[in-house]
Symmetry: C2
Subunit: 210 residues, 2 copies
Amino acid sequence: MQLHGYFRSAAAYRVRIALNLKGLTAKHAFRHLRKGEQRAPDYLALNPQGLVPSLELDDGSVITQSLGIIEWLDETFPEPPLLPADRLQRARVRAFAQVIACDTHPVQNLKVLNRLRTLGLSEDAVTDWAAAANREGLTACEQLIAREPGPYCFGPTPTLADLCLVPQLGNARRFGVDLSRFVRLLKAEAVAKVLPEFADAAPEHQPDAE
Amino acid sequence: MQLHGYFRSAAAYRVRIALNLKGLTAKHAFRHLRKGEQRAPDYLALNPQGLVPSLELDDGSVITQSLGIIEWLDETFPEPPLLPADRLQRARVRAFAQVIACDTHPVQNLKVLNRLRTLGLSEDAVTDWAAAANREGLTACEQLIAREPGPYCFGPTPTLADLCLVPQLGNARRFGVDLSRFVRLLKAEAVAKVLPEFADAAPEHQPDAE
């Protein structure tokens, strides 16, 4: 397997954690988003969106979209599970992940922020936009797990929710969001970040980190 | 079951189609997004994001996020399946759905467009923004199923992909996107739209339609 990613992409970071938790070794190809390498013809042939991550399987098949990749990994390599066995709890984990992956991250990704810049917004206004998207998404996430005992987002082991949360908190910090009131989220992050599977997947530990 | 929705919400529309395909009857509660009814305290208690849809189960449990709701419906009421049995094909269906549900729809939803308005963008610029997001997402979707024989997005029956596609094409038309070059997407839409399960779920057939 080969993962096409970028050190700072929160979506690629989610998949790196999943691979580590599953104990899988993948080759890593890096596409430098700020240099536009994700729009090179050879990459667009793999992923017509020109986004990372993409997971290229040994038979040449390609899976795109981080949540889709993680669900495939979980179905293909079931241990340890990244979704709870209980159907309702699975739905809650997926909803939490989608608050981040659908309603938060895409509204503050590089592509959208660049579009705002071309509309003439100042750097401060662009940062405010990104910070607001993070604040809003994380506020919902905090409430979604307020009654979950933890220590992870949903129970005693990491799930898809934690795979989405940890990278997003990194983004929120980059945009200057004050995270202190997200007590429950920070508790989940604290236990996750000390796991080697999360730590090794962090942007600053990737070979393409700047 | 009770579905909290809004006639024009593409995300609620996806869930209405899923309920119909599963042969399920749900009560419908409508939250008028333009009037801000999704931010009423009673609704925020169900869904801290203040977004539609939310599916309220008879035991009081609530599931949020359209893709999470649909996966729960598919796991709970397996027939007819909305995801293929083959793992790789499931991943492709999910990726297609996520191109729409993660990277397209949230970038052009009412909340983001209102944020652009508060930044001083003209109505024309706001519409251009929404049209560009649709064009970009649909361009990727067209390529993702270019080699799929159809007639639906993935094979002979509707899947999660079609549930996302049909509502999104409706949005794209509202924003004036020229859809003529999306030949494969229009083929999938044409077969889906004549099914009563899709037709009955359309925005214009909802009791809250304006």
